[in-house]
Chain length 200, copies 2
DNA sequence: GTCTATAAATAGATAGAC
DNA sequence: GTCTATCTATTTATAGAC
């Protein structure tokens, strides 16, 4: 997908297409969404999309690649930030939550398609990103257990899975109009925190 | 889908088809699975499936309807069982977990397609079942809060979501070969229990 | 009961006019 | 840049032979 001499107008159109595709992919699934539907959402006919993107897969890549890149960057910063393991773990969870709420479509697509379209060879970069996120979490948790800041009778991978499952489920019921992120996070640590962090 | 005069042989074939379809639907998605793939998995050609089922949708229904029926029956028994709210909540979670592990394919399909295929009018019965499961949980939780057996600073719906998210995520990493259900449940109550149940 | 052959619909993608 | 028209492939489903 070589895009030469991008004019601002052209970039804007591309962004419109990506936003429309993101909404549809997230709401109905990648496979269930047709290029005709994407085009209709944008207000053009299907053929016109191919002026901006080579393939439907190219649209999906243009949507997901920047998302996971930014996501990884965010997690790496959390893990590198100065602080004890318990704080780092809370920053990681907060980062996950914020990423989810800022890019709900991309996240919904990632979660829904990991065991579907993204199993194909082409999407290895997405599965790699997910694997690295897990590594970052696990390292922080294990450091926390070693330092006595996280209960030692909880397996790192188990805690990671539990936290991720909770976070991942959020966008399906969280309403930014009536809910607030700090209250949500506080609720989580009320529910899971007391069982995770000793000396509270 | 009227099946008259079922011979045992015929029933066995039907079950084979359902099992094959379940595996494929769960692993790749309903839309991504073709009737040819189901037939191949069974060892026949696509046309032969239509001797047993009218449509691909009919296969999906025959797979999901008994599953959610049994699921609801199970939850209703839990809620009706004699015991305090805290025990009931733990029974509900156990029931969810067991249903997941006994019917991993049907569960994976239900979770994956709720925001996809199952949004169609035809699958209202599945969305209704999911809604009733939530009602059963919420009632038990609210009763527990009222009775002082569950922390009152946790919203019932929030606790339900958190528990369900954790349970739903399980089959994606739980390995029945190396993990045991009682240990898993104990792990959950270590992580979330201390934040949920007072006077522990 | 299962197969072969095929109908009918739909999807992704392309070519060329404007 | 967008549209019209169309190609090709794929998919669900059917009809009838065996």
């Amino acid at each position: 997908m070589v895009v030469a001499a991008d004019t601002p107008v052209r970039e804007r159109r591309r962004a419109e297409i990506l936003a429309a595709a993101g909404r549809l992919f997230a709401a109905r699934g990648v496979r269930e969404t047709t290029v005709r539907q994407i085009a209709e959402e944008v207000g053009v006919l299907a053929g016109s999309l191919y002026y901006y993107f080579d393939t439907k897969e190219g649209i999906l890549d243009a949507l997901m690649r920047p998302y996971v890149d930014a996501l990884l960057e965010r997690y790496r910063r959390c893990a590198a930030r100065e602080g004890d393991a318990r704080s780092k773990l809370q920053w990681l969870v907060e980062a996950s939550l914020l990423a989810l709420l800022e890019h709900p479509d991309e996240n919904a697509i990632l979660q829904a398609e990991l065991n579907r379209s993204f199993r194909e060879e082409h999407y290895l970069y997405l599965r790699d990103a997910v694997a690295e996120i897990e590594r970052i979490y696990i390292e922080v948790i294990e450091a926390g257990i070693a330092a006595g800041r996280i209960r030692s009778d909880i397996e790192a991978r188990f805690l990671f899975r539990t936290l991720m499952d909770i976070v991942k489920g959020t966008p399906y019921w969280f309403d930014p109009e009536t809910h607030r992120v700090p209250e949500l996070m506080a609720g989580w640590w009320r529910v899971v925190g007391e069982g995770v962090f000793p000396s509270r």
